[in-house]
């Protein structure tokens, strides 16, 4: 790892820590109790975290073959070389 890389990484880690804090704060103030009978909307298919998994799989495969960000597929693995 180069020296500049290290500095860059540290700076970035700083940003990450701030963001995590922000998310935690957001969660702690944002949560309200939602009773089981109030979850009708949350249960709808359009409210799923990934409403179209077949689509997101294709999208992330294309993005990861054209962009340098870590694979969107996170820990699933696979994906091949993408050496084109």
């Amino acid at each position: 790892m180069t020296a500049t890389g290290l500095i860059g990484m540290k700076k970035n880690q700083h940003v990450v820590v701030k963001l995590i804090l922000l998310v935690c704060i957001g969660l702690s103030i944002g949560c309200v109790h939602v009773n089981a009978w109030e979850r009708g909307n949350l249960a709808k298919s359009q409210m799923e975290l990934d409403p179209h998994p077949l689509q997101s799989e294709i999208q992330s495969h294309n993005y990861s073959s054209r962009e340098a960000a870590p694979s969107h597929k996170s820990s699933a693995g696979g994906g091949g070389c993408g050496c084109y």
Partner: protein, 899 residues
């Protein structure tokens, strides 16, 4: 979290989606209670019903900007076939599998050079007309005193005398290549937690990886909060087959230890490992909103390069530095990336229910940072809008920006000579004996050499070689890459997904996305690499089958599952013919729907045959290639067909069928013993690289008409057609300054013509016995396809007998006779024509086969009603037209399910 591609999408009944905002408390309660176990469950977790998905996707890139050089290469395109399924093993345990196959081909950048070199994309002419450009990796460039490139004309490569600092991608084309990936997963759901494990492998000719992962989920706070965690490991082996055309011009000194020679090809070997860990949280914020956030860490080490990308280094002899114009020596070096990479990614997603529209807004942000300097930001938004009658429309937009890797450069300067003639202390050039480098000579050329004692030597007689020193790699940066994926840029994309639930457990989905990359769209500073800008679009279509359709009815009350079992079993009294028979049975009940999948594998290899006998190499050379002589012959060819069967019964005597297909093939060639090799066009065929094709094949549709239906005897006719959706103009890449032309007839993916495919089937059964016979044919309805030829017509007669081993398993034996005509007419475009497979007369013949099959119908339990069939077709006798590869056999495997 570990995702298993598309395996477990919540497949909601239309009634859930059409719940109006005027929900009564009762409705809300019921629906919430029914779907609660699935709430907050991320993709990859066992939930919902068992399901099978098929999807086809097409990726098409736009042309790259070559600044005036002719661009005759087809841009990259990829055809992707995906199938996946998830099945319950117990109430809480599910198993999933997935298979993905992609075939890509087209032009890809090998390196980046200044536009001002005399190489790059160098135009070539045919009959005096410029028709294309060849990638020239090593070239020279004129520089001014400040090392600014002095431009050249893109066509003539003559100097313009004006400074031109633009860069250009050097494009090279590739013949089709195929990747296959299989993966599986197992998940177990508990009341407030879940665990899952998964794994799989991905195979390409030049890259193989295996992966495994595991993860889990814990629910808290009455499932308002879920914590997810996961980890994975991937091991990859690189065996890059260096392009025989460009390899001699690429400097590989950094990888000498890793390159081996196999079968005439240079293979660059390496290993790579990736470890991934992540943890995340999903939190319900209100009855209309939730948030999902996770952080992931990826550590990669080993061979992280793209072995097909080279860096252009402009070597400048320091002695020339002060001249008014300097000639730079441009050389392509395989890129060098660090051997370690650490990446951290943070994802956040906010989902809000928009009550007035019954829609959901999804907002996402992703930040990733790494020690290569590539920091990225991704923003995306989508609006999921159910629009009634089972339709859902989802527009989506995404913006992405990345910083350049610290070692990315379009090209490099190095102030040293690429290769320098060594001189002794007296300033004389040093030469050496060709066979013994220890013997040295001195002098300015081969005419004027002296040995160590000062005696004159005939430089030609000893074949004296100049002693040179290569550049000092230590003076280059440790790492460098000109792969534009490591450059700084931004990308904007948008698209739409449309899905429709048909009822009866079948849903269709289609998606489209357009993507445009621009260096100027990078956040902060424009990336200054607009020469690498491009765009692409992706279109896909998917069909999803819910194989326990009635269990997810939210308002339907109890008994869904048992109803589905009764529903399933009530139909299955009729036996079905062996798996290799198409159009062999009908649905009996109006409104019935059947979905199925058919896989056919055809294996040829071994000897080359002529008529009924083995052909010698010399006979093939002399007679196999028309008036010319053959140079190559196939050693094997595999053909695989994936077919989705959809069948519907509007009435009990009339059924309709639709069968899209996906084909893929691979073939290897060998040089014929005693062949005279014409070097043009042929070299790409041997060595480690064979060739592969794969994409959508022809699409079949047909109507089945019941002619007779008395107890024990049934007769039906099929009037079918096939539409020419498979390509017949696939080309082999240009090599050795020669176009490859159209690939062999047998490697094209379809017939290219509209075909009539009639058949007549009789089926009888009595107690445990069943029997039948079928006559079928294919009649081409056009004289020629767009490549100028048409496949031969076909006739087939088959008869079989079956015996029920148990009430759910049937064994069958069948005899098949097939006649197929040779190919008619010929290619109307250039084809290299190097072997018998390139000549129309070497197709078709008469064939006799025996089929051994098993049909199973799962009689009860969770998978009741699923049918599976296997049949092996063993060739008995063949009478080939012309010269063809011998047949080894064929396998048919089917799955079907009636709704």
């Amino acid at each position: 979290m570990p995702q298993r591609p598309g395996s477990d999408h919540q497949f909601k009944d239309p009634e859930v989606q059409s719940v109006k905002p005027r929900n009564t408390t009762l409705q809300a309660l019921t629906s919430a209670a029914l779907v609660l176990p699935g709430l907050l469950i991320t993709p990859g977790h066992a939930a919902g019903t068992d399901r099978i998905n098929f999807q086809y996707s097409r990726y098409q890139e736009g042309e790259r900007n070559l600044y005036g050089a002719p661009n005759n290469l087809k841009p990259i395109s990829a055809d992707v076939l995906h199938g996946s399924g998830i099945f319950s093993l117990t109430d809480r345990t599910k198993i999933s599998f997935g298979y993905t196959q992609d075939t890509w081909s087209g032009a890809t950048p090998v390196t980046t050079t200044p536009l001002a070199t005399n190489g790059g994309n160098r135009p070539y002419t045919v009959n005096g007309v410029v028709v294309g450009a060849s990638p020239i990796l090593n070239s020279t460039i004129l520089l001014d005193r400040d090392l600014n490139p002095i431009g050249t004309d893109p066509l003539t490569k003559q100097s313009t005398g004006v400074v031109d600092t633009r860069s250009v991608l050097v494009m090279s084309s590739a013949s089709p290549e195929t990747r296959r990936q299989a993966n599986f997963g197992l998940s177990h759901e508990r009341n407030e937690s879940a665990v899952n494990v998964g794994g799989g492998f991905s195979r390409e000719r030049d890259y193989q990886s295996s992966f495994g992962n595991m993860g889990g989920r814990l629910d808290f706070n009455q499932k308002l909060t879920s914590v997810k965690f996961g980890g994975g490991y991937t091991h990859s082996q690189v065996g890059a087959i260096l392009d025989g055309d460009s390899s001699p011009y690429i400097t590989k000194t950094a990888y000498t230890q890793q390159i081996v020679n196999r079968g005439g090809s240079e293979i660059l070997r390496g290993n790579r490992q990736d470890w991934i860990a992540n943890v995340g949280i999903t939190q319900v914020l209100s009855k209309n909103a939730l948030i999902d956030a996770n952080i992931g860490y990826t550590h990669s080490n080993g061979f992280l390069e793209n072995p097909y990308k080279a860096m252009s280094v402009i070597f400048i002899d320091p002695a020339n530095l002060n001249k008014s114009s300097i000639t730079g020596d441009v050389r392509a070096l395989i890129e060098q990336r660090p051997n370690i990479r650490n990446q951290v990614a943070l994802n956040a997603k906010y989902i809000h229910y928009i009550n007035p529209f019954n829609a959901a807004l999804h907002l996402g942000y992703r930040l990733s940072v790494d020690d290569w300097g590539v920091n990225t930001h991704t923003f995306d938004a989508s609006w999921v809008q159910p629009v009634g009658s089972g339709w859902t429309l989802t527009p989506r937009i995404r913006y992405y920006s990345q910083d350049s890797a610290s070692f990315y450069q379009p090209y490099l300067f190095s102030q040293q000579a690429f290769r320098r003639q060594e001189t002794d202390s007296l300033g004389r050039q040093i030469w050496f004996h060709e066979k013994n480098p220890a013997i040295q000579y001195f002098g300015i050329d081969q005419f004027n050499l002296v040995d160590q004692n000062g005696n004159p030597v005939d430089g030609f007689q000893v074949n004296a070689q100049p002693k040179t020193t290569s550049f000092d790699a230590g003076k280059l940066p440790d790492n460098f890459s000109s792969d534009h994926r490591l450059a700084g840029f931004g990308a904007l994309s948008g698209g739409v997904v449309l899905s429709k639930i048909l009822g009866k457990g079948v849903a269709l989905e289609t998606g489209f996305e357009y993507y445009t990359r621009a260096s100027s769209m990078q956040i902060g500073n424009g990336g200054n690499n607009s020469f690498a800008d491009f765009d692409y679009y992706v279109a896909n279509a998917a069909v999803r089958f819910d194989i326990e359709p009635t269990t997810s009815l939210p308002m339907g009350g109890s008994g869904g599952s048992s109803e589905s079992h009764r529903h399933a079993s009530s139909h299955y009294h009729h036996k079905i013919p062996p798996a290799g028979i198409m159009f062999g049975h009908m649905l009996d009940k109006p409104g019935d729907f059947m979905a199925g999948y058919r896989f056919m594998y055809n294996w040829t290899g071994g000897n080359m045959m002529h008529g009924t006998h083995k052909a010698s190499d010399q006979a093939i050379i002399d007679q196999g290639c028309g008036n010319g002589s053959c140079q190559f012959t196939p050693t094997f060819m595999d053909m695989r067909m994936h077919m989705v069967d959809l069948m519907y019964a509007p009435t009990k005597w009339f059924n309709v069928m639709l069968m899209p297909t996906f084909m893929d093939m691979d073939m290897n060639l060998r040089q014929l013993a005693g062949a005279k090799i014409d070097t043009s066009g042929a070299h790409g065929h041997h060595g480690a690289a064979g060739h592969e094709t794969g994409a959508i094949g022809d699409t079949y549709f047909s109507s089945l008409i019941k002619l007779l239906n008395v107890p024990g005897h049934r007769v039906h006719a099929n009037l079918g057609f096939s539409a020419p959706t498979g390509k017949v103009d696939i080309e082999v890449r240009r090599t050795h300054k020669e176009d490859g032309g159209l690939i062999h007839f047998g490697m094209q993916l379809g017939s290219g013509t509209w075909d009539f495919t009639p058949s007549l089937t009789y089926f009888g059964e009595k107690s445990r016995w069943s029997w039948g016979t079928q006559l079928s044919g294919v009649k081409r309805m056009e004289d020629q396809n767009k490549s100028g030829y048409r496949l031969g017509d076909l006739f087939q007669a088959t008869t079989w007998g079956g015996y029920d081993l148990t009430h759910w398993l049937t064994a069958s034996v069948r005899g098949v006779y097939t006649w197929q005509d040779a190919i008619q007419r010929d290619f109307n475009k250039f084809s290299a024509r190097i072997g018998p497979m390139d000549f129309p007369a070497n197709y078709g013949g008469q064939f006799w086969d025996i089929g051994l099959g098993l049909n199973a119908r799962i009689p009860g339990g969770r998978f009741a009603g699923n049918r599976f069939g296997f049949e092996w077709i063993q060739p008995v006798k063949s009478d080939f037209n012309g010269f063809q590869l011998d047949r080894h056999g064929a396998l048919s495997a089917t799955w079907s399910y009636r709704f």
